[in-house]
């Protein structure tokens, strides 16, 4: 059994079938930053069956109804990732403000920068560059508590490789990404706009427009009390910046400035 914790939510994953032990090892490695002690409060017990046998060997305990089955371990791990995410965000509906965002945080101050954008906006690519220097918080969903502290979700990086029909779940440790700081709190929110700008630049967005732009990039926003006000509070007096850029490698200098600003 793999016991995970992300977005303040414990999730258990059981691996069964002939491929189960190898899958558990691979998942343990990929999800190393989310490993947790077993919790009786786990919101979901996901069941993944590798190489689902046509018939269980005589005398073996029955395999529970699986959430996922398949023969390709990499494909199974790719399909597992959104299931874990979904279990966590469903559990936190009405509690956390959840942004579709990547985030990194300063290891000393805990200040975190959230990079908001829909799938394909460049969140993972930016994170893979920035988290070599700043602490990795997530590449998927930033959960913001009422007091602006962050419920971290240091899941594996989901990386599209070549023409593969699934994304590889890459271990943060193997990639050498920096550890997630404790006490991470939201300092700045950036809306990614990879528009090919030769140099990265930011523009301030007024709060009214900001909440309208960010709302589609949230999960279960309507379940929060006074959701737009919650969103505006999370932005704080610094507000939203729209980040225009071309390549993730351009971003570290800008991120350094933003994380050091008062």
């Amino acid at each position: 059994m793999l016991h995970l914790r992300g977005l303040d939510t414990p999730v258990a994953v059981e691996f069964a079938g002939p491929g189960g032990p190898d899958l558990l090892t691979a998942a343990h490695d990929a999800w190393s930053r989310c490993l947790a002690d077993p919790s009786p409060d786990a919101v979901r017990r996901l069941v993944v069956v590798g190489d689902h046998p046509a018939a269980e060997p005589h005398g073996h305990p029955p395999i529970p109804t699986p959430d996922l089955t398949g023969a390709d371990p990499a494909a199974l791990l790719d399909r597992l990732s959104p299931l874990v995410t979904l279990a966590a965000i469903e559990a936190q509906a009405g509690v956390l403000l959840m942004l579709h965002a990547a985030a990194v945080a300063d290891p000393v101050t805990g200040r975190a920068l959230a990079l908001v954008g829909p799938s394909g906006a460049g969140k993972t690519t930016a994170t893979s560059v920035l988290a070599r220097r700043w602490g990795y918080v997530t590449d998927e969903t930033v959960g913001v508590r009422e007091d602006a502290t962050i419920a971290v979700y240091p899941k594996p990086l989901s990386v599209k490789v070549g023409d593969a029909p699934f994304k590889e779940q890459r271990s943060l440790d193997a990639l050498g990404l920096a550890a997630t700081p404790s006490g991470a709190h939201l300092h700045r929110v950036l809306l990614l706009d990879r528009d090919g700008s030769p140099e990265p630049w930011v523009e301030e967005v007024g709060t009214v427009e900001a909440v309208a732009l960010l709302a589609p990039e949230t999960s279960y926003l309507s379940r929060l009390e006074r959701p737009l006000h919650r969103l505006a509070r999370a932005l704080g007096p610094r507000g939203l910046l729209r980040l225009h850029y071309r390549e993730a490698e351009q971003l570290p200098d800008l991120v350094e400035r933003l994380l050091e600003e008062d």
Partner: protein
Amino acid sequence: MRVSCTAWHDWFVEGATSALFVDDRVLVMSELATEMLRLVGDGCDVDDLARRLGEVFGEPDNGLEEETRTRVLELVSTGVLQVEDVEAP
């Protein structure tokens, strides 16, 4: 014609403009629309709304009541407002 607000998730006002969360969308409300929502409150008669909008913005070229009805129906079409007792044409 009486106009009132539909069930909103939230309304965030900053200065003269606002963002409104209704159904599954967040709409940016112009200065005029924001003032209309303020004035409608728990519900009001469209003629009263027109008079009060005239006090704030002045009279438009095509007449205050005509313009107000047009704007109200625009907000009705986006699910922000609802009307009752629509008069026969």
